[in-house]
């Protein structure tokens, strides 16, 4: 049942021009960033590194900033994808179909979530094509690249869970998008504030999802960070289920 909903969500995303434009836009922006980084590496960095023993590889120097950018861009666009999640269904009344069907609320929420994650995976796969193209000209540190891809996937999946929850709170997709973006940005700001000179705070750094993205970018497979993202997603999915359940109950 979860799969039926997930497949439906994915299909509907691909029916909308919104999803296609987002895919195209993300690809364009990242391609430009990628190109600049590669050019910079070839023109400025490579000559300096020549002859150095144990020099950092292309993955660290080009792909780490590239994936950091990808994460930042995902922060901006995931809310736009998740905003339709429930808000639109409330607004058009199609939610009634899911509610009258023999489905549990968890199935509805998980179905929608997996549909979104499937779409985001497609997007990440397309982004990954760019680093892969480097393997034509040089040898890549595959372990490092894998960690970066996994990190980006976890980061995005956690964004999606938060965005889905926020879209379950309102009937207005635009409000859901703004709310989701605001919330994710706030977590990012926590990281900035937590690491700033005057206002250092371990707690802020821990709460922020970006601090857990960094180990993956460095090529570490951090189970601590993995646990953080899983908990983050589970928390928001749980809240979404609660929210939908509450709508049925008398107040």
């Amino acid at each position: 049942m979860i799969l039926v909903i997930a497949r439906h969500e994915l299909r509907r995303l691909f029916y909308s021009p919104l999803a296609w434009s987002i895919l195209a836009l993300v690809q364009l922006i990242l391609a430009f960033l990628f190109l600049t980084a590669v050019q910079n590496y070839i023109d400025n960095v490579m000559p300096k590194l020549a002859g150095m023993a144990n020099a950092p590889g292309v993955v660290s120097l080009v792909l780490t900033p590239f994936f950091l950018w990808a994460g930042v861009i995902m922060l901006g666009i995931t809310p736009i994808l998740t905003m339709r999640g429930f808000s639109e269904e409330y607004q058009t009344g199609s939610m009634a179909l899911l509610i009258a069907a023999p489905l549990s609320v968890s199935e509805i929420v998980l179905g929608k979530y997996f549909g979104l994650v499937a779409f985001l995976s497609v997007m990440i796969a397309m982004i990954t094509l760019m680093p892969l193209s480097l393997s034509l000209g040089t040898s890549l540190d595959w372990g490092h690249l894998q960690a970066q891809i996994l990190g980006l996937f976890l980061l995005t999946a956690s964004f999606a869970a938060a965005g889905l929850y926020i879209s379950s709170l309102t009937r207005q997709p635009a409000l859901a998008a703004v709310g989701g973006f605001g919330f994710l940005l706030l977590l990012f700001v926590f990281y900035v504030a937590g690491t700033a000179q005057g206002t250092q705070s371990q707690l802020f750094v821990y709460i922020s999802h970006f601090s857990h993205y960094l180990p993956f970018l460095r090529g570490e497979f951090s189970t601590r960070a993995l646990a953080y993202y899983l908990l983050f997603a589970l928390t928001f999915l749980g809240l979404t289920i609660r929210q939908l359940d509450n709508q049925r109950l008398p107040r």
Partner: protein, 313 residues
């Protein structure tokens, strides 16, 4: 099989804060029956249907579909239910076929059963040739039919339609009514409406809601008896007992202030006897009319009586 009705609702109520949306709603419905839920806007029709279809949890009372409690085992109960909300729950970016396939799968039909179910549902709603049309481009009448097809696709014993004919043209209304009459053979149907004629054409039973309370609930056949009812007013009224002994009168209901409803055995002659008796006894007959109770009148009367009750209370 058992004596349990297909749909059993007991003492359902739902409040929004202190606002009463519906209260003391009870119902038993069997296959082959069509129930019309009637009431002015805001009377609680949609809330009631939402309670019956599991979209809202009741503040009190219980619902059983086919003997299965809707609150305790919602998945099994909803399997036996097709629901068309006020706005058909459609996805504008899907074609009719894609949409119905999704609905069929959501209701637990296996992949192999889907084409057959889709064909059947489309045939019944006369959508056979429109399968590839995009839902977003459909007219109101077609959208409504897709909505009904969605409620039928898994062949549930109970079908709930919330205002199925709203916004349709007369021809489409006729088609939908014909469809509902056809559904009666294998299903139990509940439909809500504020169009009285609709209930009279397609329903066996009627339940009238007003401000969150059921105020009238009976079979339409019983309503026919009302056709033989006289409504009389006297300035100098006798007591009900005396009136009951007048020839041709089989039942008397006093409405107060000299007004009575008289159940007549035969409508010819009985008025004569009544008028005669009134003249002879000096009851001062002021009004005498045949109560040709259309639903409209029952509706207004019930609402009116209720309003008075509350005004005097």
């Amino acid at each position: 099989m058992s004596a349990a009705p297909l749909l059993l609702a007991e003492n359902l109520s739902r409040y929004y804060g202190r606002h009463r949306a519906i209260e003391a709603f009870s119902l038993r419905l069997n296959v082959g029956e069509v129930l019309g839920l009637l009431g002015p806007n805001g009377a609680g029709k949609t809330t009631t249907l939402n309670l019956l279809s599991g979209g809202l949890a009741p503040s009190g009372g219980r619902v059983e579909i086919d003997g299965i409690d809707l609150l305790e085992r919602p998945l099994q109960a909803k399997q036996r239910l097709g629901y068309l909300p006020e706005n058909p729950p459609l996805y504008d970016d899907l074609s009719i076929d894609e949409y119905l396939r999704y609905c069929a799968r959501l209701h637990g039909l296996r992949r192999a059963e889907v084409p057959e179910a889709m064909k059947r549902a489309k045939q019944r709603t006369a959508l056979d040739k429109a399968g590839r049309a995009l839902i977003g481009t459909l007219s109101k009448g077609f959208r409504q039919r897709v909505g009904i097809a969605q409620a039928l696709i898994h062949q549930p014993p109970l079908i709930i339609l919330d205002e199925p004919t709203v916004g349709l043209d007369p021809l489409q209304i006729k088609e939908i009514r014909a469809l509902i009459s056809e559904l009666r053979n294998e299903h139990a149907v509940i439909l809500s409406t504020h169009i009285l004629a609709e209930v009279q054409t397609v329903c066996d039973r009627v339940c009238i809601l007003d401000r969150g309370r059921p105020v009238y609930s009976d079979s339409l056949a019983r309503l026919a008896a009302f056709a033989n009812t006289w409504r009389v007013t006297f300035s100098n009224p006798p007591d009900a007992h005396t009136l009951g002994r007048v020839a041709g009168i089989s039942g008397v209901r006093s409405l107060g202030e000299g007004r009575f409803l008289l159940q007549a055995k035969t409508d010819a002659g009985s008025a004569d006897a009544l008028v005669q008796a009134a003249c002879m006894n000096g009851w001062k007959l002021r009004e005498l009319c045949l109560q040709q109770d259309s639903l409209e009148q029952i509706f207004l009367r019930v609402l009116h009586a209720d309003g008075q009750e509350e005004a005097t209370a």
